[in-house]
């Protein structure tokens, strides 16, 4: 599934980072790379962007960008 479909509070492991150009490089530079664990922490009041927790820090990401990140949910 894609990161934007992950429910609030759920954790997943990144399997593929799509997108292109500046966006993709930014995602990779921020540590959003395959095999990394990511949690959806919060959703902005207007439904977008998302607040995610990765590598011990918090990041905001728009839904349209999260759509390009493929993840595998972690069973709890």
């Amino acid at each position: 599934m894609m990161l934007d479909q992950l429910k609030q509070g759920k954790t997943a492991v990144i399997t593929k980072v799509g997108g292109q150009g500046a966006l993709r490089c930014r995602l990779l530079d921020m540590g959003i790379i395959p095999k990394t664990t990511v949690t959806i922490r919060n959703i902005a009041p207007l439904g977008d962007p998302l607040e995610i927790r990765i590598r011990d820090y918090t990041l905001t990401i728009r839904r349209e960008d999260a759509e390009k990140i493929e993840v595998e949910p972690v069973e709890e």
């Binding site: 980072v17 150009g21 500046a22 966006l23 993709r24 490089c25 930014r26 995602l27 990779l28 530079d29 921020m30 540590g31 790379i33 395959p34 990394t36 922490r41 919060n42 959703i43 902005a44 009041p45 207007l46 439904g47 977008d48 962007p49 607040e51 590598r55 011990d56 820090y57 918090t58 990041l59 905001t60 990401i61 728009r62 960008d65």
Partner: protein
Amino acid sequence: MILALVGNQNSGKTTLFNQLTGSNQRVGNFPGVTVDQKFGEIRFAKNCTVVDLPGIYSLRAYSNEEIITRDFILNNKPDGIINIVDATNIERNLYLTLQLIEMQIPIVLALNMMDEVRANGGTINIRVMSRELGISVVPISAAKNEGIEELINKMINDAKNKHYPKRIDFCEPGPVHRCIHAISHIVEDHAEKLGMPPRFAATKIIEGDAHIVSRLKLSQNELDMIEHSIVEMETEHGMDRDAALADMRYSFIEKLCGRTVVRPRENREYLRSVKIDSVLTNKYLAIPLFLGIMLVIFWLTFNLIGAYLSDWLALGITALTNLVDHGLIFLGINPVVKSLVVDGVFAGIGSVLGFLPIIITLFFFLSILEDSGYMARVAFVMDKLMRKIGLSGRSIVPMLIGFGCTVPAVMATRTLSSERDRKMTILLTPFVSCSAKIPIYALFTAAFFTHYKALVMIGLYLSGILTGIVVALISNRTFMRGKPVPFVMELPNYRFPAFKNVMLLMWEKARDFLQRAFTIIFIATIVIWFLQNFNLRLNLVSDSNGSLLAAIGQWIAPIFKPLGFNDWRISTALITGLTAKEAVVSTLGVLTQSTAAELPSVLSSMFTPLTAVSFLVFTLLYTPCVAAVATIRRELGSAPKAAGLVAAQCGIAWIISYVIYNLCRLILY
């Protein structure tokens, strides 16, 4: 000795810079660097200048900030790099470190916020980390001023003895390793001629940094070999070039941290942030709370503190002006010279200084919002709304400040990370009606719309916002198209703002405004004074009706005929509105020879309700005052662009007034 200070955003870079330099900071241009940099002498080290480079996450040449940092290090070759990293968020911070190490300049790693790591029960093995990275590592706390002298001593020592990073290879044996080495080998001669480390050149080529590629002047044959090598790596490794490099660096970092970092079980600052966020970014509370906070700041700035300071300042200036006035009369100075000094020079100084209290108070609050981490939340909460007009959440704050005063609003755009967003925000801010226009609205609503005062006021504000939105939508599709900037932003933990940072920012903004705006505002006031007091034959006028200004007013009055007000007194008032919007009201008073109480009834003989609406819409939208224009010029870094903006605004104001006036006429008659 020149040291570069480099680090991620939110790593405490500004705090460290302030600790190092105190108030010895200057802003200026380094040779070969187009953007102004902040720099200063280190207080406790001799002949040691530190340059504060923009906060960045990587050295890819995608954002302006990254390019500035890369070019500064490549072209100016600092003697050393202080790389500050947030130890509580070490993995992502070290990503930049690995890229900096490739540049082969003595570098010291400043592990900031080590006090927080320790307080949470975590540890970092400094010795092993230093050995593995091949550079000096010093734990510090910038906020508590701990470890900073040791950091500088190590840095100076490493720079003097030319201790270059001992390790540049962070890749495991494999396709990526082979590819980097093959390319390093190909470009070696070219890179060394430029004084560029071959390994750095190689990774930049793999990342597709066009600037580096063109500087290396590679032959077509070499370029083909390089491309071949990269494609081979991509097939073998099963990852494209960008992902392969990021993966290589993060794999090294994960291994390094596995060996050197003992993570605390829970991070208190993070848990506290989660609690605060459950209120401040709450689904229902977030937006009302944000608007509430902005309202309180406005009230404090424009009504309470700022107004109080302004009153004191005005009192002081009036007293001084009176003193000089009496002194000049006593000395029997020529009345023209006296008028120049009192009505020109002192009025000019007064109008410049009048902005200071507002700027200082506003930036006091803004720096608290920024330093505490709340501003990032505002961007998060408001992003969806602002994106509709092609901006990101960060732009909301400067725009709201525009309701108070355009000058600090434009200055506040400095914290926007994208150049395009910054320009767009500066372009749109003047459409937000500033508080200096309120006296004009108040006068006209009192004269024409006694029963609908509030309605007309709200209507005006909304028209301003609406015009701004339309302008935004049009410019998005035309000259502001550009690349959209990814909104992948860090939400730092909430922290208590450092008092020193707040004070220094206030001082910096005040100084910046005085330095840049003083001359322009000053000259403008004196020019207006001259035009008001002299006639075409350069004789002094007794009655402002015969002045040069009135002549200009008469000359341009026909321009406003299609808008319904073809009266030279009105066009003259609009010209004086350039110095400050409040002047529109006072000029109308002077030119109609009426007191404030008489003015509404005098106006009703000059305007109909319809032409009054047309006039109000025009004042709402036409050029901002000189102080705002001077600030816009400074922030856009270009006089022609600022002039273009002024012209565009006057044009838009005319067109919209024309449309509204004629539409209303059609409907009513």
